[in-house]
Symmetry: C2
Subunit: 425 residues, 2 copies
């Protein structure tokens, strides 16, 4: 539920009040049946449909201010709530309704020798703070995933989208109320004061997890200053390695797709590694195709001997271009490829193309990335492609959740111990 | 492997060098077969046996210094390496050898519509820093668990145990070398300079996780200053709630055992909650038994009307006594009991005694603790009792691992994506 800052003496007090009410709501939501949560999500979808025109009016207000403030066309495009985007928000809610509810699932229940049955029961995390930038659809996507996993959420969107986010928040509250859930299950921070972010990421009494969605500098700043645990999504410096034993009839397509499916996604390939024994077979045709598509190539000396291209610098190996540039390195062995990936990569997603069983096993075991792929392009790194239905982000952390994070990553497990009067000792 | 500070310009450089060598060793250890890791553990056990006298001589050095420094008898007792404790270190290694290796296990492997098979593969975390206080046996316990899970470890024990820890470290290195593993798989920090801890918990380039084992103030200080993620083990303010529908023939024993099995463990009951409808049946006999055993009782007004005892203050409900004191509160409902637990408890381990199915389900669902127990005393909260074989600690964090942490909690999962040339889009 939205609350106004005017009620409170300071931003800190305001955020702590949001935290306290979210904590209270989370204690109700923790045990809400799946049907009630789904009812709230469907009522939100209905409210978005009914409020379609009001959403566009609110969004126009943001767009007008953005233009007056001279925001770039790219940012203004991300900010715009078109009919298609409202449709997609509604469809997103319906997708989350269709996903199985992870809460209450019991795993690994085993009887011990003394008859105690001990297992793990999946349970909501509690209160999750989401901090994001301009795209207002995140408001509804994040709210839906948190709610379905039984968590209260505090959402802090970008100031440039404040009118749109407030309008969406009204639809969220209508959905919660229609299902008889506390309105504070989802709160939208209603101040553009930057101090609100600082207060939220340090309120470890009321907030269990912070998920920042945005650029690298936002995420780094939040990770540095937060005392609440942060689920980070940092860069994707992804590699495809074409092994000496690759099926060359699929290698070229995999590499091309990994780079060109979309330049801007974190699963896009940034460096191609090719075993020297297949370099002359693979590179000429692949490089011609990439260049024809508009990709600028930068190679190591051995690569430049096979195909003429600019020389890659040391910095290139460590750069996530997120654009039409690709660095290419010829390597003498699988070991050299894996060493390069573990050293320069960002431990996001890395692929090997090979038909050699031991080489594939060594790559899967030794490459320390959140996704390791065999004979598939890195651009598949995505919650929907992984069958998660939807994702709140792609974690580059090693703990808790790694890779695309769906509903399960928004829950935790507690031990259950079921006895009949057993005593210890 | 132990390194001396004299080689390096400063403690910071020394710790970073330890980190770098541990990171390198972890890349070998990541794919070490189970048999090799077990061979190292058994060779460590053998070295402890062979070096038994040398261990006791080193320990005597620590004990003499401790006595000269006026350490308390309790601390001196924790520091002592008796034959029985060396036996138990050896037995601990054999236990870890017998545990199944979690590394490489693949879960949830499913085919997607496009034929990609996607699942999760369990993998070591990387490099783990363990910071602990006086008990030297932690050196070998922590080393063994980290190694079996495929992680390199950097161990920082208390300065009062430095000679003992160095002697144990020599046995660890002999074990690693006997199995052909890099000696830097396990490093013992060989400086008593406190700055070493600060450097270790901020070396996020080389260290993936910090596990502090010690008192609350140590853990709080580390959590505050660390930039590396910390797996916390904070206090256990545990409750047993005797419901209106409890089987009274088991309730008294469960409560007595929860308090008196051992006062000093984190799973010991600190507050007993009793439903008012059974208070007069339960309390007189239970309280008499507790007092006869030497437990001091403090009650709420309603409890004091049933059994004469000191009045509990507001502060009592929030106190982890870790000793022979128990606070008792009479409650009017299951809801009041759960509200008390979620408010005053530390979310560690809490138990209900009941035969009422819905009440037990509500307790399991709504009590937000790392272990929730039915008809069993909270003192069962322990890795060995849970069938984990051994534990590195009991996590009071909600993320990654919650409750007793064994080998599985020292690993993480990466996604594997197995294709045959599928492309996206």
């Amino acid at each position: 539920m939205t609350q106004t800052v005017a009620d409170t003496a300071s931003v800190n007090d305001y955020i702590r009040r949001l935290g306290r009410t979210a904590r209270e709501a989370s204690q109700v939501l923790r045990s809400a049946p799946t049907a009630i949560k789904n009812q709230a999500l469907l009522a939100m979808a209905q409210a978005l449909e009914v409020e379609r025109e009001a959403l566009k009016v609110a969004n126009d207000e943001d767009l007008t201010r953005a233009r007056a403030n001279g925001l770039s066309e790219a940012l203004i495009d991300r900010l715009a709530l078109t009919d298609a985007r409202i449709d997609s928000m509604i469809k997103g809610l319906e997708t989350v309704v269709s996903l199985p509810d992870p809460v209450g699932t019991i795993d690994q229940l085993k009887a011990q020798a003394n008859g105690l049955r001990i297992g793990k029961r999946r349970t909501p995390i509690g209160v999750i703070g989401i901090i994001y930038e301009s795209r207002p659809n995140v408001t509804i996507d994040a709210a839906a995933l948190c709610l379905k996993a039984g968590n209260a959420a505090i959402l802090r969107g970008g100031s440039e989208a404040s009118a749109s986010n407030a309008a969406i928040a009204r639809c969220v509250v209508r959905g919660l109320e229609a299902a008889g859930l506390p309105a504070h299950c989802i709160s939208v921070v209603e101040t553009t004061d930057r101090a609100a972010v600082g207060a939220l990421i340090q309120d470890s009494e009321h907030v269990d997890l912070i998920i920042p969605r945005g650029g690298k500098s936002l995420i780094e700043r939040i990770s540095r200053d937060a005392t609440v645990p942060v689920l980070k999504h940092l860069e994707g410096l992804c590699h495809v390695y074409i092994d000496a034993f690759a099926d060359l009839s699929i290698a070229e397509d995999i590499a091309f797709n990994a780079k060109c499916f979309r330049y801007g996604i974190c699963g896009a390939m940034e460096t191609l590694l090719v075993h020297e024994s297949v370099a002359t077979q693979v590179l000429p045709s692949l490089c011609a195709r990439l260049e024809a598509y508009g990709v600028e190539l930068k190679g190591c000396p051995a690569t430049c001997e096979v195909v003429e291209m600019a020389a890659a610098s040391e910095e290139d190996w460590a750069t996530e271009y997120l654009g039409p540039t690709l660095s290419i390195k010829t390597v003498a062995s699988l070991d050299e490829a894996m060493k390069h990936i573990n050293h320069y990569g960002s431990h996001h997603s890395d692929a090997i193309v090979t038909e050699h069983l031991s080489n594939s096993e060594r790559f899967m075991s030794d490459v320390d990335s959140s996704s390791v792929m065999l004979n598939a392009p890195t651009c598949f790194a995505d919650g929907a492609e992984y069958g998660l239905g939807a994702e709140i982000g792609i974690s580059t952390d090693k703990l808790h959740a790694r890779g695309p994070v769906g509903l399960e990553g928004l829950t935790t497990q507690k031990y259950i111990v079921l006895g009949q009067g057993q005593l210890r000792g």
